[in-house]
C-alpha cells in the first residue's frame, strides 16, 4: 500500500500521461501509430524547447512572460537574414540567437540590479519585443527564405525531423546542466532560499542572469525552428506561447515558488499538452470545446498529482 502510494506520487504525472494516451488510443485507433506520434513530437518541439527554458527561470524563483514575443522577434530577426543567397546559414542563426540572448540579458539585469519583480519586467519585455518584431518587419511576414534555413523546421536527419532532434538535444543538455553542474545546483539553491544561497557564497545575481539568458536563448531557438517550419518570419507568431510553456512546467511538478522542479517533469508536461491537442484534433472536437477540455485536463492532471504527492 505504502509502496503503491510512493510509486504513484513519484510517477503520478507519468501515469496521467499514459492514461490519456490509452484513452485516446481507444477513442481513435490512428492516435497510436508511428506516423501520428511523430507528428505529435514535431508539434510539441517548439513548446517543449520553450518549456525547458522557462523551467530554469521558475526553479530559480522567477518567471518569464516574454517568451512568446521573443519567439516572434527572433523568428523575424533570423528570417530577415535568411533570404536565398544573402548570407551563409550561420548568420541568420546567430542573429536570432543573439537577439534572444540580448532579451535575456536585459530581463536579467533589470531583475537583479534594478530589483524589479520578474513578473513586471518580463511583462514589459513581452510587449516591447512584440512591438520590435512588428517594427522590424514593418508588420509584414518576412518570406522567401533559403531552403537551408527552412530545413531546420521541415527537414529530416536520419528519418527524424530536425525540430525533434533539437528538442531532444535541448532536453539532454538541460538535464545535464541542472543535475550535474554547479550552475544547476546554484539555480535550485537561489530559488529555494536566496538569502541562504548568498550566505553560502553563491553569486546570486550571476545565477539569475544565467537562468534568464538560458530561457531567452532557448526561446530564440524555438523562434528559429518555428520560422523555419512555417517558412516565414511572422511578427504575430507565438502569441500566448509562454502560457502553454509555463503550464507544461507546472504540470511537470515544478513549484512556482522556486527551488524545486525537474526537466523530466517538464517533458512529461509538454507531452501531456501535446497529446491532448493532437487527440482532440483527431476526434474532430470543435476548437471552442477543445479549449475547455484542455483546461479541465490540465487542472485535473495537476490535481491528481498533488493529491498523490501528499
Amino acid at each position: 500500500m505504502i509502496l503503491a502510494k510512493n510509486y504513484l506520487s513519484k510517477y503520478g504525472i507519468l501515469i496521467a500521461l499514459l492514461v490519456i494516451c490509452i484513452i485516446l488510443s481507444v477513442a481513435t485507433p490512428y492516435f497510436f501509430t508511428v506516423q501520428n506520434l511523430v507528428i505529435v513530437l514535431r508539434q510539441v518541439s517548439v513548446n517543449g524547447i520553450l518549456a525547458i527554458g522557462v523551467t530554469f527561470v521558475i526553479i530559480a524563483g522567477g518567471i518569464d512572460l516574454s517568451l512568446g514575443s521573443v519567439v516572434a522577434l527572433t523568428g523575424v530577426a533570423a528570417a530577415s537574414f535568411a533570404h536565398p543567397g544573402a548570407y551563409p546559414l550561420i548568420v541568420p542563426l546567430l542573429m536570432g540567437l543573439l537577439t534572444g540572448v540580448l532579451a535575456g540579458v536585459i530581463n536579467g539585469l533589470t531583475i537583479t540590479l534594478g530589483k524589479v519583480a520578474p513578473f513586471i519586467v518580463t511583462l514589459g519585455m513581452m510587449t516591447m519585443t512584440r512591438g520590435l518584431a512588428l517594427v522590424w518587419s514593418d508588420g509584414r511576414p518576412v518570406t522567401n527564405l533559403s531552403p537551408a534555413f527552412n530545413f531546420i523546421g521541415g527537414g529530416d536527419l536520419l528519418y527524424i525531423p530536425v525540430p525533434i532532434l533539437l528538442f531532444v538535444l535541448v532536453i539532454i543538455v538541460a538535464y545535464i546542466l541542472l543535475n550535474y553542474t554547479t550552475a544547476g545546483r546554484y539555480i535550485y539553491a537561489v530559488g529555494g532560499n536566496e538569502q541562504a544561497a548568498r550566505a553560502s557564497g553563491i553569486r546570486v545575481n550571476a545565477v539569475k542572469m544565467f537562468a534568464y539568458i538560458i530561457c531567452s536563448g532557448l526561446a530564440a531557438l524555438a523562434g528559429i525552428v518555428l520560422a523555419a517550419r512555417i517558412t516565414t518570419g511572422q511578427p504575430n507568431a507565438g502569441v500566448a506561447y509562454e502560457l502553454d510553456a509555463i503550464a507544461a512546467v507546472v504540470i511537470g511538478g515544478t513549484s512556482l515558488l522556486g527551488g524545486r522542479g525537474t526537466v523530466t517533469g517538464t517533458v512529461i508536461g509538454v507531452l501531456i499538452i501535446g497529446v491532448i491537442n493532437n487527440g482532440l484534433d483527431l476526434l474532430n472536437v470543435s476548437s471552442y470545446y477543445q479549449q475547455i477540455i484542455k483546461g479541465v485536463i490540465i487542472i485535473g492532471a495537476v490535481l491528481i498529482d498533488r493529491k498523490n504527492g501528499k
Partner: protein, 494 residues
C-alpha cells in the same frame, strides 16, 4: 479514563517515510502544572506536540482531554478545544504587523468582516506589555529580530484563553531577562489552572520551572519523574542514556598570530568596533538581545553594508563586499537563523552540506556525484545528523538536526576564522558537548573562533577572551579568568 489528568496521551505512534518519529508514546499532563518534555534532537518531541495541536495526525493511539477521547483534524479544532502552541520553528506572517500577528484569526471587529484597528492595536499592546517588553505593535513582523519574534509568538500563544499551552523551545532565542519574564507568566498561568507543556534542552530552566519531566529518546517514552527529585546529572543521564563528564572540555592553547582584526568598524546598528582574534583563540561575544552582535558579524562576513572602518586578515587590509569574498578569505559564518540565512529548506541534506563547497567535489563545474555523496555522508556521520539519508529534504529534519546541517556545511569549507552565532541554539545536551569539543579542537588546530552566545555558561565555559557588546558598542573586554556572570551582565545591561 483516569480523571486526574487534564490531558492523557496513550500508545501514540507516528511514522514518516524512513523514520519512526513516535513509537507507543504516552504522556499524562495535570492541570495547573508544568510538564517538561526533554530528549535528544529528533527524539520526537515536536512531532508529539504537532499531533496535540492538530497539525499532523497520528498513525495510532489515543488522546484524552478532560476524560474524553479527542482527535483533532486541524489546528482550528485544537484551538477551539482549548489548546495553544508556541512553535519551535516560529511561523509569523512577515508582512503583517505585530498586532495583526498576535490576534490573527481573532481580530476584534466593528461588525463582522470589518476589523476594528484601534481595538486590535490596543488589545495586542496590552498583551505585549504584559510580557514586559517594548515592541511597537504596528511594526511589520519581518523587521523584528528572532528574539522579538519569539516574544510575539509567546504573546500570541498565551492570549487565547487556552487550557493547555504547549511551548516548544520558547527560550531558544531570548536572553535571561526575557526568560525570567516568561517564567513569571508561566507561574501566573499555572496558578489559574492552565497546564503548560514545556520543551527545552536547557537543564537549569527545566529544573527551575517544571513540576514533572518526561524524557523521550528515538521516538520512545523513556521515563516520567517529578522534577523535585531530579538534578542536572540525573537528567543528563536520562536523556543521553549515559553520564556526560565535563561538558565544557576547554583546553586553552597559546594564541598564535592575529588572523582577523577590525578597526573602528561602523554600520547601521553598531559603531566604532575594534577587536582582533588570534589563531587558537576562542573569542566570546556576550550581550543582550538586540545589542548588535549579529549585525557586526554579518557586516564582517559581507552580508550587510559597512559604513566605515577597516578589516584586516593576517594583517592585510581587505574589503569584503559579499559572503563569497569573505569565504574566499577564509571566513566562515554559522548563522543564528537557520531558516533565513542558514539553509535551503526545500533542498536535501546533501545539497545543503555541499552548497558552499561545491568546488571541492566538482571538476570544471561538473559535480562529481560520487565524491559529493561521500563527503555528505562523512559530514552526516561526523556531526551525528539524524536523518534517514543524505537525500532527505532538510525541512523534514528536527530543529536541532537542521542546526547540525548548518554546522556541517560551513565547516566543510575549512575556514580559518569561524564565526559561530548562537551555535548551540536548539541543540541537545549530548550534541552540545560534541560541538564544544569540536570548537576546542578547531582552536587547537590554529583556527580563530568568534562565538556569539546569549548563554552565559557557554560564554564562560568556552571563551579565552570575552567582548561585551552594549547598544552597538564594545563596552568591555574581559579575560577568561576574571569574567563572571555578574560582571558580564553589568557591562551588558543598559
Amino acid at each position: 479514563m483516569n480523571e486526574t489528568y487534564l490531558l492523557s496521551v496513550q500508545h501514540l505512534s507516528k511514522s514518516f517515510p524512513g523514520v519512526k518519529a513516535l513509537d507507543d508514546v504516552h504522556l499524562n499532563v495535570e492541570a495547573g502544572k508544568v510538564h517538561a518534555v526533554m530528549g535528544e534532537n529528533g527524539a520526537g518531541k515536536s512531532t508529539l506536540m504537532k499531533i496535540l495541536i492538530g497539525m499532523i495526525e497520528p498513525d495510532s493511539g489515543n488522546i484524552y482531554f478532560k476524560g474524553e477521547r479527542v482527535a483533532f483534524h486541524s489546528v482550528h479544532d485544537a484551538i477551539k478545544a482549548g489548546f495553544s502552541m508556541i512553535h519551535q520553528e516560529l511561523l509569523p506572517f512577515p508582512d503583517l504587523t505585530v498586532a495583526e500577528n498576535i490576534l490573527m484569526g481573532r481580530e476584534p471587529v466593528v461588525f463582522p468582516g470589518w476589523i476594528n484597528r484601534k481595538k486590535l492595536n490596543m488589545a495586542s499592546l496590552h498583551l505585549i506589555s504584559r510580557l514586559g517588553v517594548s515592541i511597537k505593535v504596528n511594526r511589520k513582523m519581518k523587521t523584528l529580530s528572532v528574539a522579538e519574534t519569539q516574544m510575539v509568538e509567546i504573546a500570541k500563544a498565551i492570549s487565547n484563553n487556552a487550557e493547555v499551552i504547549i511551548m516548544d523551545e520558547p527560550t531558544s532565542a531570548i536572553s535571561q531577562k526575557e526568560v525570567d519574564i516568561l517564567f513569571g507568566i508561566i507561574k501566573d498561568l499555572t496558578a489559574r489552572g492552565i497546564a503548560v507543556i514545556y520543551i527545552s534542552h536547557k537543564m537549569d530552566e527545566v529544573l527551575q520551572i517544571a513540576d514533572t519531566v518526561t524524557v523521550m529518546r528515538d521516538g520512545k517514552w523513556i521515563a516520567t519523574q517529578p522534577a523535585s527529585g531530579l538534578n542536572k546529572e540525573a537528567l543528563i543521564n536520562m536523556i543521553v542514556g549515559r553520564p556526560l563528564d565535563n561538558i565544557f572540555d576547554k583546553k586553552s592553547v597559546p594564541p598564535g598570530e592575529v588572523l582577523l582584526s577590525v578597526k573602528a568598524l561602523s554600520g547601521d546598528y553598531f559603531s566604532d568596533i575594534s577587536f582582533e582574534v588570534h589563531a587558537g583563540e576562542i573569542l566570546g561575544i556576550a550581550g543582550l538581545m538586540g545589542a548588535g552582535r549579529t549585525e557586526i558579524m554579518r557586516a564582517i562576513f559581507g552580508l550587510d553594508k559597512i559604513r566605515s572602518g577597516f578589516i584586516y586578515i593576517k594583517g592585510k587590509p581587505v574589503r569584503i563586499k559579499s559572503p563569497g569574498q569573505a569565504m574566499d578569505l577564509g571566513i566562515g559564518f554559522i548563522s543564528e537563523d537557520r531558516k533565513e540565512t542558514g539553509l535551503v529548506l526545500s533542498s536535501t541534506v546533501r545539497n545543503n552540506i555541499t552548497l558552499g563547497a561545491l568546488s571541492i567535489c566538482s571538476n570544471n563545474r561538473f559535480i562529481d556525484k560520487k565524491k559529493e555523496a561521500k563527503i555528505a555522508d562523512e559530514q552526516i556521520r561526523k556531526f551525528n545528523i539524524k536523518t534517514p539519508g543524505r537525500n532527505q529534504v532538510v525541512n523534514y529534519l528536527s530543529g536541532g538536526n537542521q542546526q547540525k546541517v548548518v554546522l556541517a556545511k560551513v565547516l566543510l569549507r575549512n575556514p580559518e576564522v569561524i564565526i559561530f552565532d548562537e551555535p548551540t541554539r536548539g541543540i541537545d545536551i549530548g550534541a552540545k558537548a560534541e560541538i564544544y569539543k569540536m570548537m576546542t579542537a578547531l582552536a587547537a588546530a590554529g583556527k580563530a573562533i568568534i562565538m556569539i552566545s546569549s548563554e552565559l555558561p557557554e560564554v564562560l565555559g568556552m571563551s579565552d577572551r570575552i567582548l561585551v557588546v552594549r547598544e552597538g558598542k564594545i563596552s568591555k573586554e574581559l579575560k577568561a579568568e576574571e569574567a563572571t556572570q555578574e560582571l558580564i551582565m553589568e557591562y551588558a545591561m543598559v
